[in-house]
Structure formats: structure tokens, C-alpha cells
Amino acid sequence: MSPDLAFLVEVVVGGLLSGVMYALVAIGFVLIYKTSGVLNFAQGAMVLFAALTFVSLIERGLPFPAALAATLAVMVVVGLTIERAVLRPLVNQPPITLFMATLGVAYVIEGAAQLAWGTQVHALDLGIDDTPFDVAGVLVSRFDLFAAALAGLMVALLTLFFRFTRTGLAFRAVAEDPLAALNAGLRLPRIWSAVWIASGIVALVAGLLWGARLGVQFSLSLVVLKALPVLVLGGFDSIAGAIVAGLIVGAAEKLAEVYLGPFIGGGIEGWIAYVAALAFLLIKPSGLFGQRSVERV
């Protein structure tokens, strides 16, 4: 392989792998949006909260598995609490009301996380060494590979869950037609609880991976902003869309940074995804895989 081509492949692979991590955050949004029509702006705060809780427990000397289990439990409680205390009383309110409520929740969680665990930056070591290794002349980050595998596993588990379990079937029914699901006697509150728990767990995985990559600090909650272009591109209600769009955004960012950056100045990586999302919105407002909304009840 020529060095130029190897470099290109390396950039694309690196982009795709970081795209998986975008997808992971985006999936947390999709889960909740699909079942309750709420764009949960607090997803980023949940990511921060999970990472901060985990790293603080580790720093207080808890062994890795215990810290993981404790954080998992905390995230389950956080998810359930938000659903029960904030969203359930607001059920059947207009979407913008719900969105504003989650915005408020986001600030409460961020504040609470820093109140409880402090504001300093923590390093998070998951014990995976980040030395790149060589695959046919292409250097691949070991950590990225691990992150991608974990995200992939997560997605596979969610897919199996939705495809083959009763709760999964109920979830798809609610996502498809909430009124019909209600009418058929499905217990929507129970499904919402399940979904918020699931999104808490997704936030935990995303928090650990992003935390290990960027360090655990306040700005971790801003990964939501990275998820938005992914959602626009993939459609807010498609898990497959979130994955594909995550990969596209990841690869596009890196390619733009490397090949366009030198011409229009560096730092493209930060905003190119938004430009792409904006352009995409003009062409296909429902996203790559999103359902064109005909009516919403």
C-alpha cells in the first residue's frame, strides 16, 4: 500500500471508530425519542454524571467491578427518577414543554454532579492501553477499537432485546403508534421506565468511553452537541440511523480536518458536522432513516 493511501485509510478508520462513540451518545437520545417523543437534552448531563460518579468511586478506592456496579445502580435510579418525577407529570404536554423540562433537568444534573463530586478534572483509566497497533500498514488505536467493540456489543444487545423480548415488542409498538399501544392495554409508564433505565445504561457506557478519551470534566456533557448532527443525519427515531450517521460524521470530520483543514484553516473538525447536518436538513428533513411523520398523536 502506498503511504498516501495508507494514511487515507488510517484517517477514515480513525474517524469511523470515533464515529461509533458519537453513535453511542445518539442512541441514548433515540431510545427516548422513539417511545415518548421527548428530545432528552439531559442525555449529555447523564453521560457526565455517570463518568463522574464512576471515577470518583474509583478514586475513593473502590475496585473496578464494584464501582461499575454502583454507578450502574445510580444511573438506573437517575433514569427512573427523571421519568417519574419530571416527565410523567408532563405527559401529553406539547413537545416543546417536554424539551424545556429536560433542559432544566440537564442543568440540575450537571449542578448536582459537581456539587457531589467537585469540579476538578479527573483522569479515567479503563486499563486499556492506547498504543496504536499495525494492521497491514495502517495504525489503529487499541482504545478506539475497544470502544467500537463495546459500542457494537451494546447495539447488538439492544437489537436482540427489541427483536426477541416482550418488553422489546411493546417498546416497538409504542414507538410506532402510542395511541394504539395505549388502546391495546400496553402499560406505557412501565415502558417509559424501561427506556429511561436503558438510556441511563447507554449514558454510562458512553460516559466511561468518552471520559477515558477526554478526561472527566464538565465539558463532557457537551458531547450531546456532537450527537445532534448525528441525529439530524440519521433521523431522530432510528437506531440504525444513529449508527450509520455516527460513522459518517466521524469519518467526515477526520477527512475534512486532514484534507480540507490546510486550505481553510484548522479546527474544522469542531464544526464541519453541523454544516453537513444543515445541508442535509435542506435536502432530507427526516434524516437518512427517519420516518416521515404523517401524524402524531
Binding site: L169, A170, A173, E176, L179, A181, A184, G185
Partner: protein
């Protein structure tokens, strides 16, 4: 079997309902459905049929509506505040207007969803699926297809089958004939009437076609502008000049009515 002293399974009294806190959709509806009966709910578009059925299933809050006054009793209990899922488990199951199948789910998954609402176990689900496929043989061959890809008639059968998976005692149907060919409508009504005759399933059917209602129902209730204005058997309704003129006669000139959300 619990029911009111007079044998009514469902009793609606002086029911008033509004949408969005202001738009009056029902302004005084009385209705009685006795165990084992087929009752048709007749009325023009916007008369309040759908609102009434949604009120009975307690679906109004999900469509930004609410009950203002009146009473709904099912099996002798006031149910105006009972959650829809509890009603389903008590045997009061609805079929929505416009079918509302889960389009991306297969026909069989649609049916199973109805069983899950009731809380059926595995064995019950299997038995009930067999039963529904026997009632609607056309669904058997489509069981693996997404419900969005089958014909309108088959979707209506799926929607009814899904409700039957909840093992209803009272089945409430909102315009099951809407948009369907007469032949398909006849097939669906044949199944419903058989269920009523052979299993004693009680039916409350909103039906825009008065002809259909009179053909199949034991009694009909006429709804006009959110009010129940007339109740009786086929003979009573046929004898009424205005019903004859508005709904059955050759000159169908429905009077202009104030439109309300259906």
C-alpha cells in the same frame, strides 16, 4: 359475572366531554349496553361518536380531551378514572377508528401486542393466535408481513384480531367499515355477529352507515351534535321520518352542522 342490577354491562349517563379545555364535543350522552347485545352508535361525522368511544376507553387524556360531567359505569363499577390498560384487563377492549395497526410490526406481532396488553402467558398467546387466525384465515398467510404492507381490509382484521387477543367481554369498535369494500365489510361483520351469537361477546359499534347498523345491531343509539337524541331497535329508527330522510333515503342531504373534532 358482574353487571348492573338491570343487566347493563356498560352504562353512560349525561356524559359531557371537551377538547383542549374548551371545545365541547359531547354535551349530554346517555347509553346503555346490556350483556350479549350488539348496539350501534349512529351519527354523522363530528356527531361525537369517536369522542364517546374514546371516553369509554379513557383515551381522551391522550388526545387532549377530558370528561367534564357525567358517569361511565362498566360491569357495575364507575370507570371514568380507570386507566385504559386496567379496562383492557377487565375485558373492555377497543378498536380505534382508522385501524391504527403497528405498521412496522408484522401481523403476528400486532396480534401478540394485544395479548401482552392483557398480560397473556405463552400458552394463552398461542391459543388465542390460533383462534384469531381461524376467525380471519386471510391473516394466516400474512402473519410474517409488516402490517403496513397489507390491504385495508386485512389491517382492519388485524386491528380487530389484536383487540380479540385481549379476550374482551365488551368490544368497542369505531367505524370498522370505514374505507372498506362492501364485500370485506360483510366478511368482518359476519365474524363479529358470529362472535356475538356463539360466544356472547357484547359489541358497541360506531357506524356511519345506518344501513349496516340496522342490519346487524339489536339496538341503535343516534348521536347528534354531541347529544344522544334517539334510541331504539331497527323498527323504531326506520319509522322515524328524519332518520329515514337523513341517513337512509334516496336524497342524502345532510344538514350543515357545526364541525367538531371527531
Amino acid at each position: 359475572m358482574t353487571s348492573d342490577r338491570d343487566g347493563s354491562l356498560l352504562r353512560v349517563e349525561a356524559l359531557e366531554a371537551v377538547y383542549g379545555g374548551a371545545v365541547q364535543a359531547l354535551s349530554g350522552v346517555d347509553l346503555v349496553v346490556r350483556e350479549g347485545e350488539i348496539v350501534a352508535l349512529v351519527g354523522a361525522n363530528g356527531a361525537g361518536k369517536t369522542t364517546l368511544l374514546r371516553a369509554i376507553s379513557n383515551l381522551l387524556p391522550a388526545t387532549r380531551g377530558q370528561i367534564r360531567a357525567g358517569r361511565i359505569a362498566y360491569a357495575g363499577r364507575d370507570v371514568s378514572r380507570t386507566r385504559t390498560d386496567a379496562l383492557v384487563r377487565a375485558g373492555l377492549v377497543g378498536v380505534l377508528e382508522g385501524r391504527h395497526c403497528f405498521r412496522a410490526l408484522t401481523v403476528e406481532e400486532n396480534l401478540i401486542a394485544g395479548g401482552l396488553g392483557r398480560g397473556s402467558g405463552r400458552a394463552d398467546l398461542r391459543a388465542d393466535l390460533e383462534w384469531v387466525y381461524a376467525l380471519f384465515p386471510r391473516l394466516t398467510e400474512k402473519r410474517r408481513l409488516p402490517a403496513g404492507l397489507i390491504s385495508g381490509g386485512e389491517q382492519q382484521m388485524t386491528a380487530i384480531g389484536r383487540a380479540l387477543m385481549g379476550r374482551p367481554r365488551l368490544l368497542v369498535l369505531d367505524e370498522p367499515s370505514m374505507g372498506l369494500a362492501p364485500k370485506v365489510t360483510a366478511e368482518i361483520y359476519r365474524v363479529l355477529v358470529d362472535l356475538n351469537r356463539e360466544r356472547g361477546l357484547t359489541l358497541l359499534i360506531a357506524e356511519q352507515s345506518v344501513t349496516l347498523a340496522l342490519r346487524h345491531a339489536h339496538r341503535s343509539v343516534v348521536l347528534e351534535n354531541g347529544l344522544s337524541v334517539l334510541e331504539g331497535g331497527a323498527e323504531t329508527l326506520r319509522a322515524r321520518d328524519d332518520i329515514q330522510r337523513f341517513y337512509l333515503g334516496p336524497r342524502v342531504t345532510a344538514p350543515a352542522r357545526e364541525r367538531q373534532p371527531a
